[in-house]
Amino acid sequence: MNNVRISSFASFKNGTLKVNGNVLLESAMETFFSTYYEVMKLNYPKFFKMDNLSKLAFVTCDKLFEQDAAEEVISAFEKGLIFSTADGCLDTDEKYFQSTESIPSPALFVYTLPNIAAGELSIRHGLKGETATFIFEEFNPEFQTKYVQSLFEEKRVSICISGWANFYGESTEAFFYLVRKSENGIIHSTENIQKLLDKSWKN
């Protein structure tokens, strides 16, 4: 199936958010998320309640559909999301653990699952199709490509966000791309995804 294409992609590394390889926003990591909210004039109060992994995935994916030129209406049940991460919600786990020294925080507790970030993306983009979260030591383009390709072959999705986000310690990075059936765009292959990743994460 060679008409499965990447129609847009976005990345985050070292305080730089890029969409289709172009810098969208650069800011200090400590204030990046609130700066993004302000600069992009978001009206999404729940953003501030999210944990860092969800915020990272959110800002990286936020413009994927805007950059996608196709205009056909796709059912939410045909919109998928294949998400992977290394450390999942460890950043939040530690904060929650600290909160248990006094009164455990319910708001932190609800983010102590690595797939909550996928849930936040699904809410934001109206994705009700196949969703999966995987844990890998690092982004695995080969696995991700095969998995997403199989979803298209089995006609389980018409459009799919695929990608990676990690937020823990020194590791703050994300890379997402939008895959759809199309005659235009970048052919969905491991090699092409690796190239986009290398290009995106290179400063």
């Binding site: 109060p45 309640k49 009164i103 319910p106």
Partner: protein, 85 residues
């Protein structure tokens, strides 16, 4: 009471991560849930934590919640009456 109300608004913004709002933008009699401030069930739990952490008040009867957390004013009145007790 007015001082407590102002303090409560600041604490609500901090505890519930309402960074899109300034404390003074919260109406004293504005409903906290539903079409008012739009808080959700997790926020309700955080308000219970706030009462306990900042004022040492445990909401012993969960059915009191909807009445206590109706507005900032109802919260302030509950705190005043229970701190005095």
């Amino acid at each position: 009471m007015e001082e407590l109300i102002a303090t409560l608004k600041t604490q609500i913004v901090e505890q519930l991560n309402l960074q899109h709002l300034k404390a003074e933008e919260i109406g004293t009699d504005q409903p906290l849930f539903g079409e008012g401030l739009g808080l959700d069930s997790i926020d309700a739990l955080e308000l219970i934590v706030l009462l306990q952490q900042k004022y040492g008040i445990k909401l012993a009867d969960p059915t009191e919640g909807p009445k206590v957390f109706q507005t900032v004013r109802s919260m302030a009145e509950y705190i005043s009456s229970h701190k005095a007790a």
